[in-house]
Symmetry: C2
Subunit: 418 residues, 2 copies
Amino acid sequence: MTTQDILRAARAVCPVLRCADREQKDAALLAMADRLWSEREQILAANAQDLEAASTHISGVMLDRLALTEDRIAGMADGVRQVAQLPDPVGRALRTVERPNGLVIRKISVPMGVVAIIYESRPNVTSDAAALALKSGNACVLRGGKEAFRSANAITEAIRGGLEQAGFPRELVSLIQDTTRQSAHELMTASGLVDLLIPRGGAGLIRACVENATVPCIETGTGICHVYVDVQADMDMALNIIENAKASRPSVCNAAEVCLVHSAAAEQFLPRLRQRLTEDRAAAGLPPVELRLDQRAAGIIDGVPAGEAGFDTEYLDYILAVGVVDSVEEAAAHISAHSTGHSDAIVTADPDAAAYFAAMVDSAAVYWNASTRYTDGGEFGLGCEIGISTQKLHPRGPMGLEELCSYKYIITGSGQVR
Amino acid sequence: MTTQDILRAARAVCPVLRCADREQKDAALLAMADRLWSEREQILAANAQDLEAASTHISGVMLDRLALTEDRIAGMADGVRQVAQLPDPVGRALRTVERPNGLVIRKISVPMGVVAIIYESRPNVTSDAAALALKSGNACVLRGGKEAFRSANAITEAIRGGLEQAGFPRELVSLIQDTTRQSAHELMTASGLVDLLIPRGGAGLIRACVENATVPCIETGTGICHVYVDVQADMDMALNIIENAKASRPSVCNAAEVCLVHSAAAEQFLPRLRQRLTEDRAAAGLPPVELRLDQRAAGIIDGVPAGEAGFDTEYLDYILAVGVVDSVEEAAAHISAHSTGHSDAIVTADPDAAAYFAAMVDSAAVYWNASTRYTDGGEFGLGCEIGISTQKLHPRGPMGLEELCSYKYIITGSGQVR
C-alpha cells in the first residue's frame, strides 16, 4: 500500500473511535499488551535481523537503543497496560455556557483524527505511540527509521492482532512500509489526511518536519536548557541540581546544557562546581563533565573556551557551558536569546528573583529550585507522553493524552436564528 | 524598515507585556480608543485617498468594505474599549498539581509573543487585531492589503500614539509598509521571530499561508457549512434556520452552503423550502436564493443541477446546494466528506439522532436546532474574536483572548533532583 492508501484507510476507520467508550478502548489496550508478550518470539527474531543488518554501520550506543530483550518487551507491554489505567481524555466537558438567548454551548474534548508520527530507531516508540493514540481516540500512522523497520513491523502486527481481537479495525494502527525520505515527505504534505504530525527524534528530523510540513506539525524536543545560580542560591542545592540536570542522563532533551552564575557568587561557586563535576565524579568512577567557559568564568576556573557557538549548542553529552552574569535580569535576557524554550531553572532563596525569572523566561517549563530533568509527562503527572512540545501554539510542554485531543463546540438550541 | 527589522523590534519589546498588569493594558486600550477618535480626520483623509486610488479597479461591494465614516471610526474605538472590559486572559492558573515528591507544578496562561496577522481590505481589522493582541499580552505585526494601506497606516499611527501615551513602546503594534507578496512571504517564513501567524481573508490567502508558512500558522475561516433536516425535524423551525443560516449574511464563513434533507421528509419539505427561499423572499423584496439540486432533490422540486463541485463550493452568495439522504448516518458521512470542519447543524426532535450527529460530525461547532450563524466570538460569549479556526490543532473555533495565549508550566521545588 502507498502512504496515501494507508492514510486513507486510517481516515476511513477513525470515526469508530469517536463513539468508542473507555471500556472498549481499554479492552483493546489490554489485548494489545497481551499480544506483544505472546508474540515476543517473532518480535525478537525480527529485532535480531535488524541488529544484524545494522551492526555493520551504526555505533554501539545506537545498537543498544535498537536492541530488544524479553525484559524490554515486557516493559513495552506494561507501558501499554498503564495507558489503560489512565482516565479517558475524550468527551470531557471543558466548559459549558448558557447564553442569554438560550443556546447551550458545550466545549467538549474530541480526538484529533489521524495522527502521524515520524520517529527513528527506538522500537518501543511503536507501542507507546499506538497506545497513546488509541486511548486518545486517534488512528495513528507510524513511520519509523530504516534500522528498526523489521522490529517495528513485528510490533505493529502484534498490536493490530490485539485491536482485531477487541473488535476494532486493524487500520487504526499502521506502519508505513517505505522507510525512504519519500514516505516522510508524503506524510508531511498529506493535507486533509493527517490531522497532526509529531516528529520524534533528532534536531535534523524535527527541522525537516517543521520546514516542510503543510499539515499541522508539533515542534518537539530540542532542549538547550539553562540553570541559573542566583546570588542568593543555596550553593549545595545548586550543585545537586546542576549535576543532576547535566549528568543524570545527558542524552535527553531536558538535560541542562548551560549554567549561568551570578557574578557576586561566581568566585565562591565556580571552583566548587568544577570540583563537583570533574574531580569528584572521576573519583566516584563517573564520567567527568567538560566545562566550556565564557571569558569571565575562565578568569576564575580552568576549562575549555566556550567559543562562538558554545552557548547555542545542544551537547547531549558530558559537556556544560558556563557563563557569568551580573543579575537575574541579565540571566533572563541571556536565556531569552539562547534558550530553545524547553526547560530553564533558577536556584535562589529570593522569591522576587524567582518570580521575575518565572515571568520573563518564556519556556515551556520554568523551575525554581528543582532540576530541569522533571520535564516529562510521567513526572508532571500526565501518566505518559508522546513528546515534549517546544512551540507555543498549543499543546506546549509534555504531551500526554489530553494534548492528543482537540475540542469541538456542541451547541443545543430550540430554533434560535440570528 | 524591512519586515525583519520590524519583527526584531516587536520581539525586543514584547517582554514588557509579560509583566504588564491588567490596569496598564486597559489604560493603553482606552488611550488607543481615544486616539482613534481624536485622529479621525487624518484617518478619513487617508481613507479617501485609498478609495480614490481603488475606485478604478475594485467593485462596489469591495469599496464599501474599504470605506470609513465617522460612525465606523466610532465603532472601531468602541470595539477597542470593549476589549478593555474583558477579563485579562494572561496569568490564569489553568491547573495546579502537587506531586508526591513535593514539586508544585502550575500551568499558567502566557502571551504567545509576536503575533503576525495578514489581512485584506477591511480597515477595522487593524484596530481589532491590535486591541486583541495587546490585551492578550502580544506584540502584533500587521500586514494589510494594498488597497487599504493608507487607512491602515493612519489607524496604526493613532494606536501607536495611544500606546506611547500610556507608557508602552510604539513597537508593540506595527504595520508592514510593504504590501507586495514579498512581505507576506517574509512573515510566513520568519522562523524564530513570529510565534503565531493568523491569516484573515479569502480562501486563496489562507491556502498560501498554510502551504508556505514555516512559522506556526492558524488555518481560519473557510466555511462549507451544512444544515441537515432530519425526518423528525420541526419543519417550520428547519425553514427558519435554513433561511437564516443561508441568507442573513451570505458573505460570511458561518453561512450555510448546503442543505441535506432526510428522504422521508423530502417530499413534504422541499416544496416548502423552495417557496420560502425563492417566491416568499422575492415577494418580500429580498434577494431569492438559487437552489442547486442533487438528482433526488431534482425529482421533487425545480432548480439548477448541482453538478460535480456543487457540494464542495463555498458560494458566499445567495446559492444553496440541496441534497437528499436516507439517514442521519448518511448525512454525517456526507458532511465528513464535504465539510470544511467549520459549523454544521442538525434540525431534529430526536435526541438520539442529535447525539449521533454531534459525535460523528467532526467540525469546530456542531449545532442542534440552531443556526450555524452563531459561530462567532461574541455569540459564544468570548467577547470578541480574531478569527474562526477550522483546524484541530488548538485553538479551534472562535479565537478570543484566551486562544491568543499559550501556557507555560512554573515548577516550584526545594532542591528536587531525579
